[in-house]
């Protein structure tokens, strides 16, 4: 029988960023992959400790740029040379130098649209609610506490084992995060 998941993960609270980074490293060494850290300000080295991979936003942007470039040029070529050819002062129908500015601008337009929309599609924003907000002390993540959440989707996740492991990492208040 399919069971509706009710547990999002386990969240642990830390007092100092150094403890959080050390914990992230230990957690990764132990084979956990589905996790995220929540901190009140940018913490140097945290992304590395979490094993942050490069996003695919640059690739999406590049694809948008190439589409805009070829599409922009083709639009002008199709209008001027195929659909409605007009002889302007004896210039060739495919007057590529005069097509460049619009081609360039379409490149920028599509690259930036793909960049913003691709970023939103990849990170799942806008998102009005997130399960970690259900953790009782999570509001402190915007003030002076540091949180690490191991998600239940992680293949190594095991409610008792993971809880014991997190409690051994100088953390306190390890709590379950429910949907």
């Amino acid at each position: 029988m399919y069971k509706i998941p009710t547990l999002y993960g386990l969240i642990a609270e830390f007092d100092k960023p150094e403890q959080l980074i050390a914990a992230c490293e230990r957690v990764r060494e132990n084979g956990y992959r589905c996790m995220d850290a929540y901190v009140p300000y940018p913490v140097k080295g945290l992304a590395d400790a979490l094993g942050f991979r490069k996003s695919r936003v640059p690739l999406v942007t590049l694809i948008g740029g190439i589409l805009g470039c070829s599409g922009g040029y083709y639009l002008q070529y199709w209008c001027s040379a195929i659909s409605y050819p007009i002889n302007v002062g004896g210039r060739p129908l495919n007057s590529w130098p005069s097509f460049i500015p619009i081609t360039f601008e379409m490149t920028i337009l599509f690259a930036s649209l793909f960049c913003v929309l691709g970023m939103l599609a990849l990170n799942g924003l806008p998102r009005p609610h997130h399960p970690v907000f259900n953790a009782p002390r999570f509001a402190l993540a915007t003030r002076d506490r540091f949180f690490l959440c191991i998600e239940a989707d992680d293949p190594k996740f095991d409610l008792r084992g993971t809880r014991l492991f997190l409690e051994g990492l100088h953390s306190h208040d390890v709590t379950e995060v429910l949907y």
Binding site: P42, K44, P58, L62, G89, R91, P97, S98, I100, P101
Partner: protein, 397 residues
């Protein structure tokens, strides 16, 4: 917040490393040998010598004036990128007297170089502007103005070291605004005099900006190479971080694009106008074997560096970025060949060994003086209130 109060990065004396200053000798030796070869070339074929010499002069003139423009740009915009490279740029601006000295052969050889300098060649309004006397007067004015700006910028920057206060920073910012406009105007006229007038009947209103953009690009490429050299030696090795090269790489990409924008705008406007007075400049270049040089420039002065500099990893890798900078600096030479030599050889591609030797000769001597100047100041502007920010800037990335 003055330097050192935060205590996170210690402020030592910031003297240029001896290894870098030691490059002076090989630079003078290479420059001296090339200069002797050029002197032989001058005896054999003085016209060719002057044509090649003009390319060499324009290349290094671009580094000096581009450096001055970047210094002024930094005072205008602020920003951590400029603080790290300010002293190497200022060292380049202090070579302005040498640049004036380099100009003398052009002044004395102008009758071989510029067709319009022959009596009776031009008439009317054109003759009132393009004549030997006025050309000389204008050249003197350019160098006085540039020399004055370089001197004041450098002097006030040094005073900021000794007395780091708001007023000493503020007056540099106030000077930089008018000064960069003056540079834009004088360089526009200088590029008309020195380069555009090689084809006396031809004019392009964006030409000055095209030269200015090329100077900025050349100077930035040169400084990136110098920063790589500095990053290999003590002191700067600890201070220069990938993020600093990342900033310079981003700026280099911007200059590649702005140069391409100017160069293409000129082609587009003249191509669309299709006027008999304007198109010969391109006909000499695009309807002959010079076309291949043009294609080469499109690919290696724009397309390839543009694609490479999109990469974040490359910009953060000092060696990789410097390799692109070396390529772009070489392409500045190709671009100057493209701008000047087809006016001497309308028929098709032709290049002389002196076109290569003269830039090396001037470059060797210039670099020798440059490294001497680099030694004369601390390598970082120690009176700059944002120095600590610049050193730590982007630490969270």
């Amino acid at each position: 917040m003055s330097g050192g109060t935060k205590g996170t990065v210690a402020i030592p004396s910031y003297a240029a490393p001896a290894e870098i200053v030691g490059l002076r000798k090989p630079a003078f030796i290479v420059g001296g040998i090339a200069l002797i070869l050029c002197a032989i070339g001058w005896v054999v074929n003085p016209t060719q010598f002057l044509q090649s010499y003009l390319i060499g002069f324009l290349l290094w003139c671009g580094v000096v004036l581009g450096s001055m423009a970047l210094v002024m740009l930094q005072f205008l915009t602020g920003g951590a990128w400029g603080i790290m490279i300010r002293r190497p740029l200022e060292a380049a601006t202090r070579t302005m007297p040498l640049l004036a000295l380099f100009f003398l052969p052009i002044l004395f050889g102008m009758r071989r170089l510029y067709a319009w300098s022959a009596p009776g060649r031009l008439t009317g309004h054109q003759a009132q502007y393009l004549n030997v006397n006025f050309f000389i007067i204008r050249a003197i004015i350019y160098f006085i103005v540039w020399g004055f700006l370089a001197f004041i910028l450098d002097r006030w920057s040094l005073e900021q070291d000794r007395n780091p206060g708001y007023s000493n920073t503020r007056r540099l910012q106030l000077l930089a605004g008018p000064a960069i406009i003056i540079y834009g105007f004088t360089m526009t006229f200088a590029s008309i005099d020195w380069v555009m007038s090689l084809a006396p009947g031809w004019y392009s209103s964006i030409f000055g900006m095209l030269i200015v953009g090329g100077q900025g690009l050349g100077a930035l490429a040169f400084i990136i190479i110098i920063m790589l050299l500095l990053a290999h030696h003590e002191l700067m090795a600890d201070l220069l971080q990938p993020r600093h090269f990342h900033d310079l790489g981003k700026l280099l990409l911007a200059f590649v694009m702005v140069w391409a924008y100017f160069a293409f705008s000129q082609l587009l406007i003249i191509w669309a106008g299709n006027l008999t007075t304007e198109i010969p400049w391109y006909l000499h270049r695009l309807n002959t074997s010079w076309r291949m040089v043009g294609l080469f420039i499109v690919v290696f002065h724009f397309a390839v560096p543009f694609m490479l500099l999109l990469s974040r990893d490359l910009k953060r890798n000092a060696g990789g970025l410097a390799a692109v900078a070396i390529g772009l600096f070489a392409m500045r030479w190709v671009d100057l060949v493209w701008m000047t030599v087809p006016e001497f050889h309308h028929g098709g591609f032709q290049i002389s060994w002196m076109d290569v030797m003269a830039p090396i000769a001037l470059g060797g001597i210039w670099l020798g003086v440059y490294f001497t100047e680099l030694k004369r100041r601390p390598l970082l502007p120690i009176g700059e209130s944002n120095l600590q920010n610049a050193l730590q800037h982007g630490d969270d990335e």
